[in-house]
């Protein structure tokens, strides 16, 4: 499955020609601002035209891209800080992963998504309240069905203090949350987190893209989540068991399309935002994910490549030569967060320009108009069944 070509290669997007004008983003304004979170069923105004409806908390993104969950422990503090600084500069969000939030990173809290995963490492009231949003991780695309594995060699003093575990001990997160065995259980955790943070922060539930993802997403939306993150099967990691990484899960394009269709059919699409993750390699992948129904995307591997990852796939050894997936002080120094943050800002800014160019080519001046607009995509070399699931027509139709 690892060798399969990415599905988005078969999904060319359209662009404007004679009958509808394309837009030049260098000359005309383009809107990429994205609000993630539960939207109200309807808006009510008083006689003076003021909004009466109480709005739910939203995440505001300048670009519909966020940095996906990578824990302090799996990656170095300098790598975390690069992501945090870049997210702050760009007006987007980065995710702490399961490793808690290092004390030096609390100042980036407004651009932080705090993850609560099955191991509950580093979770306490300050951690939850420091962040802009909370994420419950049920599964991740690289290794659906198994928890995290942080080898004891990487658990040094700082990681140990942040995760609240003994120094040198393996941090093995359980595969399931031992308090979640149903949608009702999930609802309890969602509301426990909301209660802990005074209902001021949206709650994300992250699941891996699996066969019944649409039904699960529907359940998650009804359980009270504000945002659903779906992690596709090409999600990257250097530390997942090979057979799991290469053989579990479904392509993110199929999962997003199925979830978007299901939520629309049930009339609850507005209650929840959908974030696509896993295998977002370039801005065209992002455009296609958004056209298939995602509100925003998570990127992780591409972000790490921007800060120097060479994909040697040896993250599990803790000897990352680039100072990213290591805790060895001599190696961590190799990544200067000033340089890392600058490179990440370059990456996202370049993608922002590319997304605007692509939107302009389609004759659209706002990312909102592309969201779930599957008319913009066509399928080449796909079966009718696949195109039905994706909700797109064949090229030429």
């Amino acid at each position: 499955m690892r060798q399969l070509p990415a599905l988005c290669h078969f999904l060319p997007y359209t662009c404007s020609q004679v009958t509808n004008p394309s837009i030049d983003p260098l000359r005309e304004p383009m809107e990429l601002k994205t609000y993630l979170g539960r939207k109200p069923d309807k808006l009510e105004f008083d006689e003076n035209g003021r909004l009466v409806t109480k709005l739910t908390p939203q995440l505001v993104l300048n670009v519909p891209i966020m940095f996906s969950a990578m824990s302090f422990g799996s990656i170095s503090l300098n790598a975390c800080e690069s992501l945090a600084r870049a997210a702050t500069q760009l007006g987007i969000y980065y995710n702490t992963g399961e490793g808690g939030l290092h004390s030096s990173l609390y100042r980036y809290g407004k651009n932080t998504i705090a993850q609560v995963a099955s191991g509950r490492f580093g979770v306490h009231a300050d951690y939850l309240n420091a962040a802009a949003a909370l994420e419950i991780k049920i599964g991740q695309g690289a290794k659906p069905g198994i928890g995290g594995h942080l080898p004891g060699e990487k658990v040094r003093a700082e990681v140990s203090a942040t995760r609240m575990i003994p120094e040198g001990s393996d941090a093995i997160s359980p595969a399931p949350h031992h308090d979640i065995y149903s949608i009702e259980d999930l609802r309890q955790l969602i509301y426990a987190l909301k209660e802990a943070t005074n209902y001021a922060k949206p709650v994300i539930v992250k699941i891996a893209a699996v066969h019944n993802v649409a039904a699960i997403a529907s359940g998650i939306a009804r359980a009270g989540a504000d945002i659903i993150a779906i992690d596709g099967f090409r999600g990257g990691t250097g530390a997942a068991p090979l057979r799991i990484r290469d053989n579990v899960g479904i392509p993110i394009e199929m999962a997003i399309a199925a979830v978007d269709t299901r939520l629309k059919e049930e009339g609850i699409r507005h209650q929840v935002s959908v974030v696509a993750a896993g295998s977002m390699r370039n801005s065209a992948d992002i455009i296609k994910a958004i056209a298939l129904g995602a509100d925003a995307v998570y990127i992780a591997t591409s972000a790490l490549i921007a800060i120097g990852c060479h994909m040697c796939q040896k993250c599990n050894t803790g000897k990352c030569n680039w100072g990213i997936a290591t805790q060895d002080p001599q190696l961590v120094k190799r990544l200067n967060p000033n340089i890392g943050a600058r490179r990440l800002v370059n990456l996202i800014t370049a993608w922002e320009h590319e997304i605007k160019e692509m939107l302009g080519g389609m004759g659209i001046n706002s990312i909102e108009s592309l969201r779930g607009n599957r008319e913009m995509l066509r399928g080449v070399g796909l079966t009718q069944k696949e195109m039905d699931i994706l909700g797109i027509k064949a090229a030429g139709e």
């Binding site: 060895d328 002080p329 001599q330 120094k333 190799r334 200067n336 000033n338 340089i339």
Partner: protein
């Protein structure tokens, strides 16, 4: 005045600052020529101190109250118009009192070149010192910290 400061948390001890200092003070300004052909090869004004995992590039601090200037018997060691502490090789007699006086140990004997001392001169001909421009991890910065 602007000085070179080492950020020990990002210095990986690659010693490219030493190499680029030598190149910047060579006749040819060419890395291959400076190391393979030029004789005598200029001494670097910066030295990387290293006890892993800690390392940092150390060069003349251009002290406000410089012991080397005070101790110099000929007046060769002086402060130039930029505020940098530099040695006038024409006046230097090679008594090496400055070397003993320097609290940082950043002045070196240069026995190849007329028995004078060699030290950081903050690269007067460049926009910023060569060590700062060429540090691959931005572990050296050239700023005014007062």
């Amino acid at each position: 005045m602007k000085r070179v400061y080492a950020l020990e948390e990002y210095c990986v001890g690659c010693r490219l600052c030493e190499i680029n200092c030598t190149v910047a003070h060579s006749e040819s300004k060419d890395i291959i020529w400076a190391f393979k052909v030029e004789e005598p090869r200029p001494l670097p004004g910066i030295l990387v101190e290293e006890v892993k995992p800690i390392s940092f590039g150390l060069q003349c601090r251009h002290c406000d109250d410089a012991e080397c200037i005070k101790s110099c018997i000929t007046g060769a060691m002086h402060r130039d118009e930029r505020g940098a502490v530099v040695c006038n090789a024409d006046k230097c007699v090679g008594c090496w009192t400055c070397i003993m006086a320097c609290p940082y140990g950043t002045i070196k004997r240069n026995e190849d070149k007329g028995n004078v001392v060699s030290k950081c001169d903050l690269c007067p001909d460049l926009p910023q010192p060569a060590c700062v421009s060429n540090c691959p991890n931005e572990a050296l910065i050239y700023v005014d910290r007062g």
